[in-house]
Symmetry: D2
Subunit: 419 residues, 4 copies
């Protein structure tokens, strides 16, 4: 009676997106590869939009997960204390916070990035008694009402159905292609009591804007931003949902700038295995939450705590993984630069293993991704005009896989220009 | 160096709540039981606040989950098409929607209840072009900014840090203890063009308010509400996050009233195994989303799709499970009534396997729960003054377990009164 | 070249309203009469919507005004000190505040009612640190964004172009025709911490809703409202713009209830001669304004200060005027009651010299007013369906004039029913 | 009993401002002079903050006013048709609109500038269906909630008591002292669909910011702004409340730029005699108001219509008055430049008869104004740090009076520097 072959189009909402770009039904996955039920294999330069930094179904994590589940470890616990949570917290303190000298409290705000951002915004407002937040052009922070108000994309904003207020955009690094001084406008309106800008509770920033088009903030820009906030008693929130967990090399993407944000959000790859999990970190003096003031049913996704812990122990107990990512990143950047040089109106951008290929002709990026998919490579576009091919391979990818993917990409680019 | 025994208090945020009421570290769980690392076992009349309707680590689901993971089925897929998602959709159509004659489109809005509510509110506003939402006294819909604005609890609302607007509360069923007519005020202000009420896009309602104190809306009240909305072209959203998936007997809690909401939210037990998953269902004519207009990283939590599918096939392919729940519910209600009769100022409320024991003296409910915990039973309070002991046992609980739990509860009540 | 006979339709905005109901060009006026340039005279039961309580161009005030202007007394002074302002303040203290034992500070918030309301709302929010205001069904407080948010009329609200928030309507006295208890809903949601109502800064109320349809709040209802506010530390604002300055008999309309609001707004007839002037009064402990925190160019309309002072000295230095108004009001009420008895579906309402004739068939009221205009009487409709003929004759009207107007009204009513 | 000598401090609210700077009680005034009750005379370089462009109690207007009042011309008429209003409209069309080729509809929005601005914002939002407004740094548009949201001054904004939203500030001309390009940021965020800026309904601008510190927008900047708006279908509102009615030379301050705003607000000197009056002008296609959708008791202040008409007929039926103002303005500018050259850190700014003397040391401006007052000259400071002495003499001032005032100012400046 029910025809599974049409169920996606008959039953699933029109809101579905990726399935339109990659019209196949995926079935299994391993490491850097994902396979359709038709047996076709795709090299994955998308990695769950950054949620699969350790690759698909990573065997080290998988073993721990299967063992935990087989032993009837607690699956769901809200914010009760569990052994899995304690072990995660211990590993997080030991491998991440302590080595970096970071004194953060950890909140489990609900298992998604937008939850972590909502908790961060709520806490920043509660702590300062102010309502206004500064966001940046082309920012992406999530789809719930608080997070959406600090997100730039006009199509997504229109989905709110109410005016999105309490947020003001400021220019991200290099928004004026080097013409205007960095914080000229921002610092001027902050310091001018007649500017009409509501004094902000916090600034929320991505160090590299993934959805925004792989826009990379320079370390010196981030430092200047942190100084500007500190001098004016404004909280600095780094949304590290996509760029954290080693995507740019170090665990936190802001380490390269030597800054210590007041609040940090993590999600996507923090769970390690692609299962929902998120954290909001903040300085101890900001921990003014009343018990239960922010809650949520899936704050205690223990299988994710298990894989999260093992990922930290496996990949972050020394500097090896960070170093490998930087080496691979350089390799990608180098090859992309060569590729870009071969064509007009193509440029590169990125850091570590987030890299972008930007096309002056916007539809070219979409065409390249489409051709790449046909040739067995997953990569998505980003940027306000979908003008950038964004590469987010698993950090665990091999050099051969990287080279293979980049050659597919090069070919797709050539064909796109040739078409 | 790092002391795991103190890590919760040193590292985790003060926002933690349940761990304060149940001061132990949980480790494993099975069926209706959850076990601390000290070996103590607790009968679970809490069931993950309704996320564990099929019990902890249900063996039928567990087998499917372990097999899926062992075979490297896709874990994380955003909104790509996967076999696991297709199978879930097929099972949902076959076992849930079609038998009930429900013609809904299915959105995967992100894996938590608050995500499902945010998507519902956004869609209702987009579809009607209006901004205002009617909620009910003592409602609970979630902690992100949109969902929080329709939530009643003043402590949680204060956490927003911005004024919560675009929502107006109306009295839930029986708010005036039978004195005032049901929709006297609501229909009057809707129909009075001078009332000052912004014409609402939608009404959002729980059929039974779990967090609000196990407040049960009568079927006739729900029907009157549905009629009132239909006559005035206002969308009706039933938030079935806690009361859906069989908690009250039938799969959807609104079935008892014979109504068809325009939009329905599901989460908690929809994934079956306590893993994050959520759905927003709506009538096809409301499916006006642009592709990607609402998105989220963890919309495609495939392990949950697998356990969700198996739960539907196992428990919802006939009327047996629904019938069992109703029988068990009657058994609980009967015993609670007897219990309530023994004490002054105690009353009962509920339907199916959500049952409440309400105390006129508010601190008694907290005392009962605390004594029950000491005696090996998990149950939480609810209501604006924490005046109701809320019972949410797994639907798969045995009669013996039910009886045991109720006897612990009776004893705790007696001791609370005796103290 | 320019044709004055068409200039209203060619040049003035479509927003014009009264000129559509009363299609003539008025030229001069005296006492209770207003004259068109065609020489037709109209008895004025409208009195500038309550701005002309002392009649048109009252000779006592006129003499003082002409003398002040002839002597080059200061016309415009913002909030500088002037002799005219000092004399007004002295007369206001001597004739109004002191005899009534009222200890209010006086703010000149700008010369219109909506300015006075905006200042009141701003001050209430600033003083309490809360943002939410309670208004009442069918309230009218003004057209600027703050005042409009507490106004009921949906057509006027739609003019805002932004969602009107931070305000929640509650039922005005007798909203349920005696069925529901007075503050059942309001006090319940205030005292229920789970109700979802933002704790209000203030309640704003008219003792009699003029635009809302001459809805009269009973003294006991106002007392209960004042008690409810006092017990919960919510400020009570009485908007006396239309009902103050003796319209209901005593200077302040709330005197009949024996309450002392925290904040009072006055405008319309406070200037005496129909020239723009307004006051916001408040208890001294609320006077937390910073200098210049609320300002406005026409706060110092000195000619109005002069006529305002003389009006106070002339009409409010003893109880005569108040008594006369009550006697005239009784006379009108009596005749209206007789009139209402003669027809089906007609009822009366009012206090002092604000009286209404309510028609169950809404278009009858409009028809009556139209026929009355043809017969030389000005009166306007009010209420959400324009179902009430509202009578606001000058308080200085003679008994003969009253009788004449009421006989015109009776005839118009008879003809309206006959048609 | 009541002591008039202390009534200001005992009875008037702390919000009073100007009376603190000019501690005397003013009594009469004529032309460019205002006199205290102690007989001291002050030359008025303040002119009611721009409401007295034709001087105090101008004899031509006075005659017409006294005659109108003596003849019992209608004083108060809401928006009924009156002879005085028709004559004003005819004179406005004949002397102002037609000669300038301006096709505007005229709304009487209530008699103050903030009313005119509120009507403008409401209409812009209604006409475009958008909610957001762009304002400029250091703008001043009024104190009611809508107008306040587009006003820059942080002290005044704080008075709102609610977050001021739906408005975003952009840099006014020369905000960066010539460093950054004019509309670099504004046009960039408008054209970037990912910028996060809500698409605005309108831009509201003063051509010269009076309260903001006599900041003069260059004609080419205004033209570029008008083009930017036109190209993107954004309405341009010029708030000419302070700079209109000839203050800068031509009747409208935007004439110098050769632009035609979509909406224009006028108040202050439009009534001619310092009595409350205001207009909102807009292109006919924007006249989508429903009758009565925006109203207000004092829209029909007929004495002001009379003096407004006479002022138009007397001063605006040829180019003489405009020319005189420009000549006087040049004279002031020249002398101020000489004065500024004599001191360090002093500069000048202005156009026509709005001129400013800016001090790098902010408290110097306040000191100069204070010393000037002592020497018989009224002038106020402006700018976010009160760093600018703002000169707004009546346009009817004589050259001798101008010279006298400027010499007082020069002396005060010298003494301020000497102190």
């Amino acid at each position: 009676m029910i025809d599974p072959s049409t169920i996606f189009t008959t039953l699933e909402s029109e809101v579905r997106g990726y399935s339109r770009n990659w019209p196949t039904v995926f079935d299994t996955a391993k490491g850097s590869w994902i396979r359709g039920e038709d047996g076709r294999e795709y090299l994955d330069f998308f990695a769950g939009a950054g949620a699969l930094n350790y690759g698909h179904n990573n065997d080290v994590l998988k073993r721990a997960l299967l063992s935990y589940l087989a032993d009837d470890g607690i699956t769901h616990s809200l914010d009760m204390h569990t052994v899995a949570k304690r072990d995660f917290l211990t590993a997080f303190e030991e491998n991440i916070l302590r080595p970096r000298g970071l004194d953060y409290k950890v909140q489990f705000p609900g298992p998604t990035g937008t939850n972590a951002v909502e908790a961060a915004l709520k806490l920043a407002r509660k702590a300062t008694g102010r309502e206004s937040i500064i966001s940046f052009t082309n920012a992406f922070h999530g789809m719930t009402l608080g997070a959406l108000s600090v997100t730039g994309n006009s199509m997504k904003r229109a989905g709110a159905g109410v005016p999105l207020v309490h947020a003001t955009p400021m220019p991200f690094d290099n928004y004026f292609d080097g013409v205007a001084e960095d914080f000229h406008w921002f610092s001027r309106v902050l310091d001018d009591s007649g500017s009409g800008l509501n004094r902000p509770a916090a600034v929320i920033v991505e160090t590299i804007q993934g959805e925004g088009g792989v826009n990379v903030a320079r370390p010196e820009w981030l430092r200047a931003l942190a100084d500007l906030c500190a001098e004016r008693d404004i909280l600095l929130i780094v949304d590290d949902v996509q760029m954290g967990c080693g995507r740019t090399g170090p665990f936190f993407s802001f380490e390269v700038a030597g800054i210590t944000p007041d609040i940090v959000t993590l999600s996507k790859s923090i769970g390690g295995y692609g299962m929902p999990m998120a954290l909001t970190l903040f300085k101890p003096e900001l921990d003014i939450w009343a018990p239960g003031e922010h809650n949520g049913t899936f704050r205690g996704n223990n299988p994710a705590f298990v894989t999260a812990r093992v990922a930290l122990e496996q990949y972050w107990n020394d500097k090896q993984f960070e170093g490998d990512t930087l080496i691979k990143g350089s390799r990608v950047a180098e090859k992309l630069t060569t590729l870009a040089d071969d064509f007009d109106g193509v440029s590169t951008r990125g850091r570590g293993l987030v890299q972008g290929l930007a096309f002056e002709q916007p539809d070219l990026a979409t065409k390249v991704c489409s051709l790449a998919f046909d040739a067995g490579l997953l990569a998505e576009t980003s940027g306000p005009s979908d003008q950038v091919v964004k590469l987010l391979p698993p950090l665990t990818i091999s050099e051969d896989e990287l080279d293979h993917g980049l050659s597919v990409l090069a070919e797709a680019t050539a064909r796109a220009f040739g078409a």
